[in-house]
Symmetry: C2
Subunit: 505 residues, 2 copies
Amino acid sequence: MATMTKQLETDFLKYVKKIKAYEEALKLMYWDLRTGAPKKGVEGRSEVIGLLSSEVYKMETSEEMESFLNQLLDGKNKDQMSEIALKTALDCKKSFERMKKIPIDEYQAYVTLQAKAESVWEEAKEKADFDMFRPYLEELVETTKRFIGYWGYNGNKYNTLLDMYEPGMTVEKLDTVFREVRDGIVGLLQKIEKSNSKVDTSFINFYFPKAKQEAFSIEILKQMGFDFNAGRLDETVHPFQITINQGDTRITNKYDERDFRVAIFGVMHEGGHALYEQNICKDLAGTTLARGTSMGIHESQSLFNEIFIGRNKQFWKRNYDLLKKYTSGQLNNVSLNDFYFAINEVRPSLIRIEADEVTYPLHIIIRYEIEKGLFNNEIEVQDLPMIWNEKYKEYLGVKPDHDGVGVLQDVHWSSGSFGYFPSYALGYIYAAQFKHAILKDLPNFDEIVANGDLIQIKRWFIEKVHQYGKMKKPLEILQEATGEDLNARYLIDYLNEKYSKIYHF
Amino acid sequence: MATMTKQLETDFLKYVKKIKAYEEALKLMYWDLRTGAPKKGVEGRSEVIGLLSSEVYKMETSEEMESFLNQLLDGKNKDQMSEIALKTALDCKKSFERMKKIPIDEYQAYVTLQAKAESVWEEAKEKADFDMFRPYLEELVETTKRFIGYWGYNGNKYNTLLDMYEPGMTVEKLDTVFREVRDGIVGLLQKIEKSNSKVDTSFINFYFPKAKQEAFSIEILKQMGFDFNAGRLDETVHPFQITINQGDTRITNKYDERDFRVAIFGVMHEGGHALYEQNICKDLAGTTLARGTSMGIHESQSLFNEIFIGRNKQFWKRNYDLLKKYTSGQLNNVSLNDFYFAINEVRPSLIRIEADEVTYPLHIIIRYEIEKGLFNNEIEVQDLPMIWNEKYKEYLGVKPDHDGVGVLQDVHWSSGSFGYFPSYALGYIYAAQFKHAILKDLPNFDEIVANGDLIQIKRWFIEKVHQYGKMKKPLEILQEATGEDLNARYLIDYLNEKYSKIYHF
């Protein structure tokens, strides 16, 4: 019996490895499209991606897969499997069921709709024309509602969507922590607005050539412990991190020659994602577990590096002089303190991806409230621009001039990625909670950062987070690393402490 | 009946397109491995390449493919097919039969042997140890002989190998033209050696930074008509051209900062390959015909650009000043004439890929004679070092110090690519023959080159060669473009005329 299970397990893992092989090819093609593939090849490439993706879909939902899962997850076999094989099987079962519950023709129509909606969205955003995008968004929402019907739900319909990006996360949990975050930030914002201290950013927008910014970015990545033998850095329009295989994790960056902050914090953000992927235990290679456990935990790693390291004054104690070396002297008369203030200016604004670290969560919470309303039939798509603008007014005190900088600004909804947004704010909450926990093991955290010894911090995360990949669930990792459940207090405390010093209140 | 054929044809072309989709993924992975994929990802990548390659093999030799070919190439259907579908079917049938005639276990053993032999060769070359490589080479030769037994042959056993790279080429034809080339070059070399004129190359090896060489290379590619919207240029160790899809043809280049000739003639060479691939008729996209018709015709395009344009004095009339702009003045006191002589210096040497344009064919003819001997049982693998060295002494008057710069220098045999070498010399002969023919349509060829109006030349090749892809056979293309069969006279005439002026005899 044990031998039969072993053989079955081996065959199953081989089958999964084949699926992963196709995914590796797909990911490389995706990376290539976004880092320099010639224009005239794009159409042919898209067809190839479509074709190989449908091969992956076939394998993931095949009778062979079903038979593997039925046999392996049957009582007796289950007990004899290795933990890796068992968790891979459970992971595959989750995908299998999610896909199989949708009739194939509806799934195909959905894929077509997604592609169409994305290209319509792009034009609609350009033209600031919500009505152009509205019918597609309505159909995406309706289709997703129907899918929730097929998938089923516990408690709140929106939970089913949350679970796709953050397994185990629920509306009940999010309502609690997001309320705390919202109230905390709104209170903080009022203090900042009342403050007499203003931050000077007049010296920020000097000409900083791309090649110099790139060279500085590479220095920082090396400090962080990014392994260039297991990854590379390229230029792109919308930066991302992608793992091609276990020894090949790539990041991309964007260079604004009139605002170096984009590249520096961008590369630390993507670099944080990459550290996670580079340090997943090699035993998981070729399984579905060799990846970050959730979008939220992933985001905690990017934000930890971007914010808790990159926007930390200690970090610049070491690196401000280094940065100056890459400039042509434009920062020579700017003190470290003024520099530090400038890169931490708080200013409520319209665009999520340009938001400062205080107001950022409010952008997310607005989207969360809207999505929750949509899928519980409390909000209609047609009312989105109005609701969006009201919420921005209420939470951030700003109002979009047009929908292009309002409800149309993000790509997510056009690809049907409902339930994704909360991970951004969750990642931030996780990161602050990790920051609090790390101080128990590395009480001299600030000194470590000031010395540029970031490898110590990386090592802490490898031990607590990275190595496990998808072997542990997000809240399990959080609990084990920090000793408690999700707690938004640490984020609010961090922001209050930091900004009371910058804005003197 | 016609409708049935139409449906069958559509289904068949769809099946072929699927195979091509896999190949596109494979080619991108290959390109990526050679242009910057991180080291630690290579092992995983190799597995993925192996896995997807075996899927391609399965499709190319499947019962489905067999059934398509049997139905389509049956008398009645054959007459009703489109020319593209018919020629694709014939091309697939050729591959199908070549693969199917080899027992699957022997084929797999061969693939394993190839991989192993390549890595052993690399070490053996490094150590200049032929005996280390010998057993692998013996097995490769023996296996290939057995395969020739399965495949069958006409006239000479080596014809079967030649046909893989140059359809329709035979030992009979090659013996004739190669004899003419050899005799012609040996005679020319004697004159050059006796000449009192020496070429000064003392000013060549100045420091020329990589970035500057790259920028100049891009200028030249643009002049040639390389379409950067349908291709890109990257750096690599062993330059190559690769077509990812019909709108995406990539070239790579190598930069020696102490010898700019490597990059300049390298990029014109690969650029010539690329022009061919970029200008194949788009109707052939997704079929097996969307590629150069043979290795020899392909090489004629790279060599035409490298030699008949790039090493032509007219070309430098226009571009020498441009080149100087990219240097730091090191060529300011060198006349165009001296520069032109220096880039055309003739010097018999040991290494094929470093040979000048006069001695290059001799390197190829030596390999041809050895391969022909091997497969007709006239030469034993164990005697190769001795035979190699004797032939180098006889034809080129040089003798390798060790086998690393002798019989072990090329990668081809280690991957079992017997029959490939002749295409290099054939390409040269074709190119000279094209050069002679082009003068009928563009009698002011030299003026065109001197004016940098290379697009006119590109247009000629599109019309005569490029557009057809694999729709026409190599000798058909040659015949139609030049009005005659393969004729080595033009190469010999070209060399004699050019070098009598450089070496004054």
